[in-house]
Symmetry: C2
Subunit: 198 residues, 2 copies
Amino acid sequence: MYSESVKKLIGEFEKLPGIGHKSAVRLAFYILESDETAAKNMADALLEAKQKVKFCTKCFNLAESDLCEICSNNKRDESTICVVENVKDVAAMEKTHEFKGLYHVLHGAISPMNNISANDIKIKELVSRLSDDRIKEVILATNPTIEGEATAMYISRIIKTIPGVKVSRIAHGIPVGGDLEYTDEITLIKAMENRREM
Amino acid sequence: MYSESVKKLIGEFEKLPGIGHKSAVRLAFYILESDETAAKNMADALLEAKQKVKFCTKCFNLAESDLCEICSNNKRDESTICVVENVKDVAAMEKTHEFKGLYHVLHGAISPMNNISANDIKIKELVSRLSDDRIKEVILATNPTIEGEATAMYISRIIKTIPGVKVSRIAHGIPVGGDLEYTDEITLIKAMENRREM
């Protein structure tokens, strides 16, 4: 029903996460119906971002030069590294304006189901950063999923063999504003386990 | 928090219909985290589609040459024109495999609220097509919204002055598989008005 080039455009939109076939068709038609510049601007933005944005050589966050903005900011606390799965997690954490340390982006989590082993993510790079004496604590902020937990477990075992570096895991529990009634069992169990004296 | 080129990419995704800020950030990060070719393929598809796909000079549907596939198909019934608001509506109608006539895409609907008058959409072009004696009926399939109804009304008044051309409106009512309980009042009123003897 659609011509080859329209099908190709729909196909490209469909590759994006969370975009199904119907949404992809809608987006493709939006581009086709809007003026020339819409497609051109978008194509330019894609190419420019991809060309300019690299990964920080130290923490593997997004960066436009060798080091990312956080690693090159000398006001950050160099004694703490927060380990996250993805660059999006850095952005989420930065929004809190609470954490002043550095990051380390693993670019994934260990997942035997998806054939992702410890060597496929940036664990070696994290361990080699720890040879720097200034680092006192590593906070494991991988997601509370099976893969995230396994990754945290794996990394914590390695770090425990390095003297002078503390390793911790972010807390799991009922989210603020959440409702006990609608909280899943695993979260409730975690929330009970991690209870604090008042 | 994000660099200029990342912000620009997020901004471009945000312009797409149905994509809010959070989704735009997710899509931008997907592109930044995937390999070089993802961005390149998408940029190419955008530019290629926009370059190749034009509008049919007769019915204003999408076309890769002067006439669209439907207008250039001599098996279609040239006596009936189905008038729709957008090219997406042509695709929706074609999926039924029922309508064998031609189309006319208005590219919008009359909407004084949004400063869209009859001259801003392809009404003149529709009227000039009707000078062709072969056309016997115009089916108005604009959306059942205030704008769509107003547009249908406006066009039907013009066509009624042209001898030999019948004008009709697609039926509105409860959708097949729909539920009376969840049908809005206006649709129910329409469904009652348009009742048919059995």
